[in-house]
Symmetry: C2
Subunit: 299 residues, 2 copies
Amino acid sequence: MSVLIVGSTALDSIKTPKAVNPRLLGGSASHAAVAASFFGPVKLVGVVGEDFPQRYVQLYKRHRIDLRGLQTLPGKTFHWAGEYEANMNNRRTLKTELGVFETFNPTLPEVYRDAPFVLLANIAPALQHHVLNQMRRPRFVAADTMDLWLNVALPDLLKLLKRLDAFVLNDSEAQQLTGEDNVFVALKKIHRLGPKYVVIKQGSHGSILSGPQGLFICPAYPLRKVVDPTGAGDSFVGGMMGYLAAAKGPIDRHIRRAMTYGSVVASFCCEGFGLQRMTRVTRGQIDGRVKELERLTRF
Amino acid sequence: MSVLIVGSTALDSIKTPKAVNPRLLGGSASHAAVAASFFGPVKLVGVVGEDFPQRYVQLYKRHRIDLRGLQTLPGKTFHWAGEYEANMNNRRTLKTELGVFETFNPTLPEVYRDAPFVLLANIAPALQHHVLNQMRRPRFVAADTMDLWLNVALPDLLKLLKRLDAFVLNDSEAQQLTGEDNVFVALKKIHRLGPKYVVIKQGSHGSILSGPQGLFICPAYPLRKVVDPTGAGDSFVGGMMGYLAAAKGPIDRHIRRAMTYGSVVASFCCEGFGLQRMTRVTRGQIDGRVKELERLTRF
């Protein structure tokens, strides 16, 4: 089954202690869509400006991503610039130019509205609502977010939580949202806000699911070298939703393995700048790391 | 088989935002010995002063801990006082009075010298050497440490590493020892210093083993409430060594499960001040949480 993904489609300029990479393909929807594309069909909703390089359109196409929901508008593509410190954990935003995203208000192509799986990747909650409003009867809706929306759009986000099956956020966002240091108490509080499934991302420490079948502790794939962690969280949720959409049967039967696949796809994301490593990965390599994670956690 | 444990035997005064608890039974050897006692016989090496409460001797005895290596010397018992912040992660030492530990130089009872498993719990590396020198042919030797010894006794510690089968330390100590942010690179570097097995403790994120069979990612047991984390790391390594000493067959066959048992014992440690919760736990409850961890990590 196909997964519809809405989020940001951006150009990222990323500086690390070892390199500077201007105008990489980035944005939450780009990372999530490429991650999901390893498992089945993806329908992308986004907007780019007239400066968007044709080679990035080709990249999406090589991943067989449906681009009928990708608008090109007069103006510039969303541009984010950031810098990482030596340990790759601390990130500083150098520039955010919204460009054509400032006025983005998509009308979904008719063929998109029946997509059974919907991923509202990180973007303004108002836009997540706007897209969800146009969907007919999605089977499973998940959303990601970021600290910015907790600060500037909390009422919209709280309304969105009531419309979701799954909510994905990182540990510091969970703490900010609930006022709880303890991640397991935070999970309980987030369930009360609406979602049946809550996933808390913990970076190199993996992630935690709380759902109808209780908790699942999902490992991160061990990486000796992190080149660029930008988009790892988006890749995680994209891989998870892509796997879920491709799996047959109840969500509960597949969601743990789906998270593990998300975790592995995110590990590949971290091994290159932007989408450079991700676009060279094969499904076989992904399966291989999932098998490895099984061995690394068995006791 | 029995495990010999040397380390500190102390009185801990612990302050948290919710309570003040003076003169609890503490010290690395106390926590490790009680933790190991759930699995088999334990021989304790330590020293206390004349002020050491008789009820704590009784507590050791209830856990069938061999006390022939516990000396009582004129003077005061080692006393540590510390304070935790609200999130229980940041700890501040308020007082350290070495007391009788200042001159402790134990001669092991003859019956101790053949113990097949040796745990050199956190204490000065010179003392860890001194005890190890008296052992005849231990089958498996593990040591724990702390940042203090990296700062003030690094040459002694480096010499010790060459005499160990297993070295256990936390992630910030691993970073300090190797200069490496990445835990998997740090593990490789620590192997080069001597130990065949290296275990890195990551608090509520669990722990990681690197050994002849590769990596093992060991989960922490999910706790909704942490009352007092003092001694959790000591309980972890004590539980691990206790389980290993009780298991039959090669180390590699049991070390992953041993770590999981250590992880569970440490979770009980965190649920009470000092050893208050640990001393009321049953082996059945420990087995129950290990089974639960199996379910929480399966995918």
